[in-house]
Structures are given as structure tokens and as C-alpha cells.
Symmetry: C2
Subunit: 147 residues, 2 copies
């Protein structure tokens, strides 16, 4: 199979073999489109917050076009598998974050830029009791700014 790596990858995922391992470990079948997209998501030049459309364009530029529908489906699959995290800002677009560890975000309402906050601001805060019969999924903290 052709090598779908972006030539510009950082240390995270630098080969198809590595991508296949990540996919396998996450329990999703390693198909060509998924390997392409995973590599593109972890390229050095790729911001960790991507939209479907941007990733689609990236695949075209990389000469490894994956259909837009598949990009959408794959992003959902990756999110369900835990190798991406969905970030909601203002309903006009969904971002997918390659950083799946606990962290928060700055969101610039004017530019649409999203930036990670890696320090855990919520250490030591006391959560209110959850509604009866519900279980915690995640805690999202977003600091909205304007420039």
C-alpha cells in the first residue's frame, strides 16, 4: 500500500504501520482512508483542533483524497473509539481535538480560534451531586475570549 504519511509528521504518528497499531488498539478496523486521516491528523503542521472540512482539504492537498462523507464518519468513529475528542464552540462547526487528555480550552469568539489549556484548573473543586441515575462523562471548561 502506498505510504500516506504527511512528509511533515511529528513524532506522534509517523508511519502507516504506527497508524495501524493505533487503530487496532482502539478497536477500529484499519482501512486505507482511516490510516490516511489518522496520519494527517497527527502531522507536524496540523493544529490539534480540526474540522471535517479542513481535514478533507488536507487530504486533497496530500493527494490522498478521502470523500467528505467518509471524513465525517471517520471523525465520529475516532471520537467514539477515544482517539479524538469533540469540542463544541458555537454550533456553527465542530472541532475534533487530537489531544484527548484532560484539558480545557480558550475559544476566541471573533476569530474562531481554539487553544488548549493544559494545566488542570479544576483540581480541588468540589463537584455538585450528579442528577440521580446519571454518570459522569466529562467536564468541559471553556474560557471564551475576544481579541
Amino acid at each position: 500500500m502506498t505510504n500516506y504519511n504527511c512528509t511533515n509528521c511529528d513524532s506522534q504518528i509517523t508511519s502507516n504501520e504506527q497508524a495501524m497499531l493505533v487503530l487496532e488498539k482502539a478497536g477500529v478496523r484499519a482501512t486505507a482512508p482511516r490510516i490516511i486521516l489518522l496520519c494527517l491528523l497527527h502531522c507536524k503542521g496540523t493544529p490539534c483542533h480540526m474540522t471535517a472540512e479542513k481535514l478533507y482539504e488536507k487530504s486533497i492537498i496530500a493527494d490522498s483524497k478521502v470523500s467528505l462523507a467518509t471524513v465525517y464518519n471517520t471523525l465520529r468513529t475516532f471520537t467514539a473509539a477515544g482517539i479524538l475528542r469533540e469540542v463544541n464552540t458555537d454550533s456553527s462547526r465542530v472541532y475534533f481535538d487530537t489531544n484527548v487528555s484532560d484539558h480545557h480550552h480558550f475559544y476566541n469568539e471573533r476569530t474562531g480560534e481554539l487553544a488548549d489549556i493544559n494545566e488542570n484548573l479544576l483540581q480541588g473543586i468540589k463537584l455538585p451531586p450528579l442528577p440521580a441515575g446519571s454518570k459522569l462523562q466529562s467536564i468541559d471548561l471553556m474560557i471564551r475570549i475576544r481579541s
Copy 2:
């Protein structure tokens, strides 16, 4: 002008006159559709988290139909004027919250339910420095749950 109040209003906004005052104070022109919608938003039976579609239906039921486009536009106008707050959950819908004071939310990812958390969990947390040249707009904390 006909009285557009929901018969079921709680103490917040119980008359058109009161609605007009709120609108005027917020700096938005008091028009019939806006008075209708403001009253409906502050009805006793109305949850404080509403979508455009739900509010539209409510206006039809109340026999004071406001066009869907106007509902959308009015919700945006109210938000810009500070008498509503936008809450983003999962990109499929936008909620508008009649509670504009500082508070947080539970969001049930399965049911789509949104609930207020009125205690301020963020008292005493230390914010990271904002990106250069930006100013704080708001801090959103959402606790995602599933039942």
C-alpha cells in the same frame, strides 16, 4: 394591543408593560413579536433552556404565532442585548438560557436535557493568563453526563 402573556407566567415577567420595560432597559425596540417571545420565555411552565423551534411552537400554541425566522432573529437580538445567554452543547441545537447570571450546566448527552448548576464552582480557581491582546468574555463549565 392584545395581551400576549401566557396565562401561566411566574413572577418574572407577567405583563406586556413589564416586558416592554425589560426590552427598553436592554436597549431593544419593544415590538409586538419581541414582547410575545419575552413573555413566553418567562412563563411559569417554560423551562429556562429553550430552542428556537420550541419557542416557535409555544407561540403557535399561545395563539400568538411569531414566524420562525423572527424567533431566530429575536433570540439572537436578546442574546446580544444580554437578556438571554446562548448555551452550546453538541452542535445539533442551540439553547438559549433565560438565566443570565453566572452559573454552570449539566448536560445529559443521551436525553439532550440541560440543567442549571447555580453554585459557583469556580470560586477561587486561578485563571491562566489570557492570550495576548484578548479579553475575557465568559467562562463556560459544562458537566456532561449520561443516564
